[in-house]
Amino acid sequence: MFFFSVPLGKLVRRITRLRGGGSAFPGLVVEKIDPGFMARTLTTLPHGVAVVSGTNGKTTTTKMVVELLESQGLRVFTNRTGSNFTRGVAAALLGEVDRRGRLHADIAVLELDEAHAVHFVNRVPPRYSLLLNVLRDQLDRFGEIDKTAELLQHVASKTTGTVVLNREDPRVARIASALPQPGSGGPKVRYFGLDDSLLSTFPNDDDMRAGPGSPVPVVQERAHADVVLRRVGVDDADFEYDGAVVTTRMKLRGVYNIFNAAAALTLARCIAGQGSGPTDPESLLSALSNVAPAFGRGESLIVDGLPLDLVLVKNPSGFRLGLKSFPAGGYATMIAINDNYADGRDMSWLWDVEFDSLRNGGVDQLSGSRAYDMALRLQYDEVPVSEVNTDITSALAAFIRDAKGRPKRIFCTYTAMLAIRRELSKITTVEVVS
């Protein structure tokens, strides 16, 4: 079986692509006929595997880590199709290995959601893991956020080299205390962090429950962080990197993306520091300044000569940060909320976001299968709504027509974003993600 699995898997992959099918199916085939394929292939990599997990920011952070490592001359394998589960990794591997099953890469950097990360690390213990945050999201799938934190704890415990943790998220930071010391077989622990002045911008899950005006979190004694985000400007940011403050320009937008840049820098610094040459902060920062947003993550398209921003919102913290990072002033606003499985079926999360910032300008268009849940939510925050239309295609067309001459912004859940990108690709250039 061993010898046939790779060519056979590749054939299935070609056929599936011809039929325009799902990106993970060939992975399923190869997993069935050759269950050892993934582990065997990945364990040959000289720098091993790095897993990126957490509630928010996995895709953008993974993209940053990949580009940072490439700037250091490493060949990086990643699951950039967004199939962030084991089968998706196997499918992505099939596309990259040669016919003899060899992967020509120095390291694999993989984005995995919390539950799939557990399955993955049980089969392939990673050398590095980067754990971003634990926030309420998809509770209908994982049950409780404390359970989600346990999943990340498991990922950390299977990590053989270094675990990089978010110092500012208590559920993530406390993972360190449950790990064995490096002397007795546990991984090393490094942190990324935030300046005190920015802490209130990133409420952790315990801080974000109450309504408007929740208190600024209490700053307690915190561990040393290798990279600390000190300041976010319009198109630049200050990081404290190994004790020195450096300013770098940023193409990424949104404070949460830029905090994730601190995460990516911390991991890239660890990995590059393991190589023969010294880590070169300047080349890492210069690579960072060139990273463009991942699709739908604060991506800006051009429609009728004006920007149209797509902001993916999946959970309350992401929606709050999205509203904060992309101020409404001057923009026409559309919100599209679907409740398919990938979006989360429970609408409760909309009630943990406050929409006061949209009150002055109002919202031009609401759409998605739960457009009326969103309308009701906005009514209770006294935000005026111009139009509600559950059909995304016609709602988008009306939004673009009625908001002519104004820059536009669309906040959308995952499957709504896919539908919107499909429609937009008919009228503007949208990066095709295969």
């Binding site: 509770l139 429950r209 109450a210 429970d346 409760s348 999360w349 943990d352 849940d373 009701l376 509600v388």
Partner: protein, 246 residues
């Protein structure tokens, strides 16, 4: 779209129980709906928080309590038992209360975990809950004689059985509700509405919100005169939610 009444017909004091530790699944939505609808009916809402260790507010007219994670429930448990007799008196006296998920369970007689340890509740409601391995998750539709069709979303592994002193909030037409055997959802006792439903519950079920408000106002001021909240979005949100799969 919405209308603030200009007259002030009186103040209603709404106490949120343990919002710091019991707040999962958009429980803020229920408090916000009470706050806005009180104003739309012409009353002045006063929202207060009660957290572990606080003095219990005097003159609570309406009480709301939400769901929590297991860790949150552990944090509040001792404090809640201390407040048990106060809450019992308020309940027996007819204070309207909305208790969702975790708080519903803790207002019952006990919660027995899967491993057999028994967490005492405050016994205001004649219900008992048993932890299970099965998590009941999904959209729910409940038929209630009192409130009509109730729509929400459940996500719990505790299964609750009602004793003779309480009646069910309704029977499930979609989803599971209290437990996987008897087809009932929630509990009604005096002016308490207890339910497993998130969503949040009150926004899409304004009949329940207005019952709590009317009861609070009548107890305090003798009579209630309704305003005219605009419920067009609520009606449409209910229609669309009702058609969604489990």
């Amino acid at each position: 779209m919405t209308q603030e009444a200009s007259e002030n017909k009186g103040t209603i004091r709404v106490v949120q129980l343990y919002p710091r530790d019991m707040n999962i699944y958009g429980d803020w939505g229920n408090a916000l709906v009470l706050k806005r609808r009180l104003a739309w009916h012409g009353y002045t809402p006063e929202l207060l928080e009660y957290n572990v260790g606080d003095d219990f507010p005097d003159d609570a007219d309406l009480i709301v309590g939400g769901g929590g994670q297991d860790s949150g429930q552990l944090v509040i448990q001792a404090d809640l038992l201390k407040r048990g007799s106060t809450l019992q008196e308020l309940a027996e006296d007819g204070t309207p209360m909305l208790l969702i998920c975790g708080m519903y369970q803790l207002f019952g007689r006990f919660f027995e975990t899967r491993k057999g340890s028994v967490i005492p509740g405050i016994g205001v409601l004649d219900v008992e809950t048993h932890g299970t391995d099965e998590r009941l998750i999904g959209n729910v539709k409940v038929e209630s004689e009192e409130f009509g069709e109730i729509l929400g979303y459940e996500n719990h592994s505790g299964q609750t059985t009602l004793g003779p002193a309480v009646r069910a909030l309704g029977t499930t037409a979609k989803g599971t509700g209290n437990n996987s055997s008897d087809g009932q959802e929630g509990a009604r006792y005096k002016n308490i509405v207890a339910s497993y439903l998130h969503g949040s519950l009150l926004p899409k079920n304004p009949a329940i919100a207005d019952f709590l408000i009317r009861t609070a106002v009548e107890r305090k001021y003798g009579s209630f005169t309704a305003g005219a909240p605009d419920d067009r979005f609520a009606v449409l949100a209910r229609e669309h939610a009702g058609r969604r799969p489990r």
